[in-house]
Symmetry: C2
Amino acid sequence: MTKSNTRFKEGFNQCLDLIDGQDVGTELPGEVNIAEMLNISRTTVRNILSSLNDLGIIDWQGRVKTILRHSKKAERFSDRETSPVSEKIEGKFLEWILQGDIPPNTQLNELELARQFDVGTSTVREFLISFSRFGLIEKKLNHRWVLRGFTKEYALELSYVREMFELDAVRNFVDFPDDHPAWEKLDRLEEEHRSLLDHIETRFSRFSELDARFHATLTSVSKNRFVTEFQDIISLIFHFHYQWNKKDEKERNEAAIREHLTYIAALRSRDGAQIQTEAVKHLSTARQTLLRSLLEN
Amino acid sequence: MTKSNTRFKEGFNQCLDLIDGQDVGTELPGEVNIAEMLNISRTTVRNILSSLNDLGIIDWQGRVKTILRHSKKAERFSDRETSPVSEKIEGKFLEWILQGDIPPNTQLNELELARQFDVGTSTVREFLISFSRFGLIEKKLNHRWVLRGFTKEYALELSYVREMFELDAVRNFVDFPDDHPAWEKLDRLEEEHRSLLDHIETRFSRFSELDARFHATLTSVSKNRFVTEFQDIISLIFHFHYQWNKKDEKERNEAAIREHLTYIAALRSRDGAQIQTEAVKHLSTARQTLLRSLLEN
DNA sequence: CAAATGTTTTTTATTGATAAAAATCATTTG
DNA sequence: CAAATGATTTTTATCAATAAAAAACATTTG
């Protein structure tokens, strides 16, 4: 096998969505238009159109693409098929080390991982190299990769830098003029928080994603690529943390939403001391939740 | 070609050093011993010994390895041959982007870089992935690598985080007891600084390496992998900065040494305010030197 | 019998090949 | 003739093969 055609498959599914949302007989937009919508190249769009044509879902002649029928469930590609190998391996690997109780200092073996995740060795290699920025694994030249482990030390070191970056970032809010774009983003975030709070009973698990966006928005005012990069690490670690630590999830998330709201109010106050207080309080809650989930394992 | 045997070649040269430093007729130590000395595996040591035996430099019979003669210059491997491909490419690439005036947003092409640096495409790929942590290049899936460039913004963002980390780290010195190992390290560093100052006329270019060790020692007290990791980035960038910005090098380095000495004195004083003052002063000098070298290009 | 050497197995570093996807260039059409 | 399509070229993602290096196992020797 070579490069996987997940882009094609995902785009294909998205095209089916587009088609099913319209009446039979309608025409599809131009190739460039579709390419922009799906965020893929026109080359791939044409492959998709060609495939849809072969299946008799559309009739494609030059610039006229007519919808002939809606899709059947079986014609869609499954979710498993639509994410690229490099993405799949990330999820599998994180699940393996964060869930699997692999002890610290375990040595990792490229070939074995390749077999385990059913990918080529180069893919594993590239993944491990890019993953090393998370600080969970390590290697020296000509030696094996070593899992440092998702330990208490890890959580503390991660949280420490996180707090330093975020406390530094939010100090900027004191001086932001009323028309600074950050305020508008905060407005929208606040709204989303309130709406989530209103439906907390059923939608509490959506908090994870909102949390990531909230903190990313705060640190983004630093306009510093190293801070942004680090925030990505935080997001991924917390994403998996939320995904697996389901104990008291609703209560934890509800409490966190309320902390966010107080935090937002503090930012709006432009009072440096108050901002600092709320930031410290919330970040410390977050750190403790992360730590607790480790100790419970 | 497959895996390059640079480890062998480097070890071979080191063995020649060992041999030339002793009289003909002397015996070499055991294999395990040599392996530890050269920091390579016994397997490679045996290959080296075997090669030395074939060349008639030693006589190797079981555990007896007798030196037959000293080496000739031509028998050594050249420096070029003794560093692994992955290391060579790093130097070449940095030279290319930091020296070559490549404009920001230039698109990089794996195949072209592979040809340019005379390595395989996978090696380039792996290098680019690992190099991306420096924040100088960037890529999105299925798209090309883009050079963000060694710009003023880069230097500022880098310096900003550096200052945050180091200022935070040196705050710890206030509370270190007299027997904390950091003091001893500082003592030795101070000595090296004074000695360098005494021979500044001739040895000024050795400051680069001392500078890296000095700052690494300071930030290492944070005991935080993300800080340490970041310090590596700083070291490499400054290493290349020192290597190429030769203007007023002696004066700059002498001034920096004096700042380091004041900085060390401040740390010893355990006076938080004074430490802060000297840290800020020196880090700001460093930032400005880095910036100036950019603007002069 | 512990430490050194000899032998075999495992693992990494590096390459090149190939299909997918993107990018570019050429042609058509309203 | 600008915007869309058609055809071609370039570039990336992924894999599998192989020699170097490390690691593990087995045997010898003082």
